[in-house]
Subunit: 219 residues, 2 copies
Amino acid sequence: MKYLDILLALLKLGVRCDRTVLITTQELGRLLNISQQSASRLLCRLEKEGYIQRESSPIGTKVSLTSKAMGELLEAYKILHKTFTGLQYEMILCGKVFTGLGEGKYYVTLPYYYRMWQEKLGFSPYPGTLNIRLEPEYIRLRKILENIPAIEIKGYSNKLRSYGGVKCFKGEIENIECALLLIERTHYGPDVIEIIAPVCLREKLKLKDGDKVKVRVKL
Amino acid sequence: MKYLDILLALLKLGVRCDRTVLITTQELGRLLNISQQSASRLLCRLEKEGYIQRESSPIGTKVSLTSKAMGELLEAYKILHKTFTGLQYEMILCGKVFTGLGEGKYYVTLPYYYRMWQEKLGFSPYPGTLNIRLEPEYIRLRKILENIPAIEIKGYSNKLRSYGGVKCFKGEIENIECALLLIERTHYGPDVIEIIAPVCLREKLKLKDGDKVKVRVKL
DNA sequence: ATTACTAAAAGACGAGTAA
DNA sequence: TTTACTCGTCTTTTAGTAA
């Protein structure tokens, strides 16, 4: 939590985990009320300690935030959200249901993953994923999810096959417990999320392709 | 924004603008990874710079946050909220409509205040206030509103009469533009807010006493 | 323009300790 | 037990300046 004020200043300048911004140490210094030299040293240190990615040149420094920074900012956000709303923070994502190619079903039921769902998510999922194509304004949030702490299922390879990693968030979809999966090796773009749940969401919620759904992610 | 990490640590310990907590410099030091001495110095400084109220004794220090601190925390919260939700922050308050004693109408139309509404809120209000008794869980939020920057209408006295100050927040009630008023000299308790709007909200929204309404405050 | 080095000054730190 | 002072040390800062 040591660099919160500085990370916040970077957010103010438009820097994100998925957005690199060219800033000068002078303007950063002005924003933080420190000298250009201190701002320069600060960026060096933030990089060394893993909070930013950085590329300096004679015209300025290109900066983006790392997952470590996003994680700390989220921690701060959670405390503040609790303070200013009295509520636990949930990220809400909206999108439309679509039918995939059936690989979801295949992966969910692979023994390695199936054990992991039970162990790390605490439920045995219905064999299949609900594919959701996010509305454009939510893609930014999905990218944030990629960069904050989550329930991680590590990928691994043996001689026979290799398993990609999966990042999971517990949540709810129309009041039904579910988990949002960010699948490392997916052929879908950054606008797609996959959901698993103990029940068949398509049936339970009577969903057809194109139906709009709202997923609440608990962070 | 300099003491954000420290103010956040205080929030974590349960300190609020309306809640004094007894803490020891030792535990604060442990939380911030600094010595007891530095934590002590820090609290002195926070007090001197107007971020906390403080009362130290041989059993510890009673600490509460000032409006200045709440304002800075809110600034941080707004940036983070924008980052993590993509939305502007709004505080939502819920409560039930009730009928007052008619003083709302009297005050709203007093020439001094009427000029102020027009000047500072940008509309000419319907002559009357909508009184709302907040549900218990929202009283905390009302107290936060009291302690953050707002549109201020200063009170003043002359020989004839004295006018109390009013703190205003712009907002919406069921999609109708309105303003929430926190009236300095009110005989209502901290669970009551008063709303003014360019239209008669009771008529427009067909409200009866006891009806539940939701006010969105834009911060 | 920039970034970022060096050196000297300023400020922050914890140990010891009084109250 | 507390808080919070002094003091010596160490860290951080800025000004000057090189690249």
